[in-house]
């Protein structure tokens, strides 16, 4: 299945893009997607990363489904 992955702020700068698509097995965990994304964008390593699935915070062991929107970002700094 194809998963859309979004980057923001520091992760967009590190990845050099704002989004990417990855192909993973059906019902993969968030960790499978993020490991693949980090492998393809090694500049993301060294950042403490947070994740969301369909605009809700998610842990690495959460499952994702076809068509889900995953985002990878660093600790938020608004205000």
């Amino acid at each position: 299945m194809s998963v859309r992955v979004l980057f923001f702020g520091a992760t967009a700068a590190a990845a050099g893009k704002r989004e990417t698509y990855v192909e993973v097995a059906d019902s993969s965990k968030v960790a499978v997607v993020t490991d693949l994304v980090i492998k393809h964008h090694p500049n993301l390593e060294g950042h403490k990363l947070l994740f969301s699935v369909n605009q809700e915070y998610a842990e690495q062991d959460a499952s994702i489904s076809d068509g889900d929107e995953l985002a990878i970002f660093t600790a938020v700094s608004g205000g």
């Binding site: 809700e56 959460a62 938020v76 608004g78």
Partner: protein, 146 residues
């Protein structure tokens, strides 16, 4: 009325504060957060804010609901600015209307603390000799139910 919004336009603080006021209230506490010139002794030229907009709006709505549940308050308005901001410009306004001021102060303090921890907005500081995406200081929210 309650509202959580994002805007690239300058924020009119007075109008945000006025919009939250219902007749039963006696006090509105409004936080005006703005761009600081020096961070850790380094001079900032300007800031740039970026949001994961749909998620930021959802997280702001959650904070408003939680605050109304936990504090004796009537209405909450939150407006966060995005894009390029000059020194001294308002980046965030939080207005809390309540029958009595004490709860409004407490809720406003809680709301800005939680917003800085949970709402997906990021700040880039631009200096004369470079720029840095600022990492948040607080731990991210625990995820309920995985």
């Amino acid at each position: 009325m309650d509202f959580g919004e994002l805007t690239t336009d300058p924020i009119d603080i007075t109008s945000v504060a006025r919009r939250v006021v219902p007749p039963e209230c006696g006090a509105t506490v409004t936080l005006d957060g703005y761009v600081r010139k020096f961070t850790s002794g380094r001079e900032t030229l300007h800031l740039f804010y970026e949001a994961y907009e749909p998620m930021a709006l959802k997280e702001m709505q959650k904070l408003i609901e939680q605050a109304k549940n936990d504090f004796e308050i009537s209405n909450v308005g939150i407006v966060h600015r995005l894009g390029k901001l000059e020194i001294g410009e308002t980046s965030v306004v939080i207005s809390v209307a309540a029958p009595h001021r004490k709860a409004a102060f407490a809720a406003c303090e809680w709301l800005i603390r939680e917003l800085k921890r949970t709402v997906p907005i990021w700040k880039k500081e631009v200096y004369a000799d470079g720029e840095v995406w600022v990492d948040g200081e607080s731990e991210p929210p625990a995820v309920a139910g995985g």
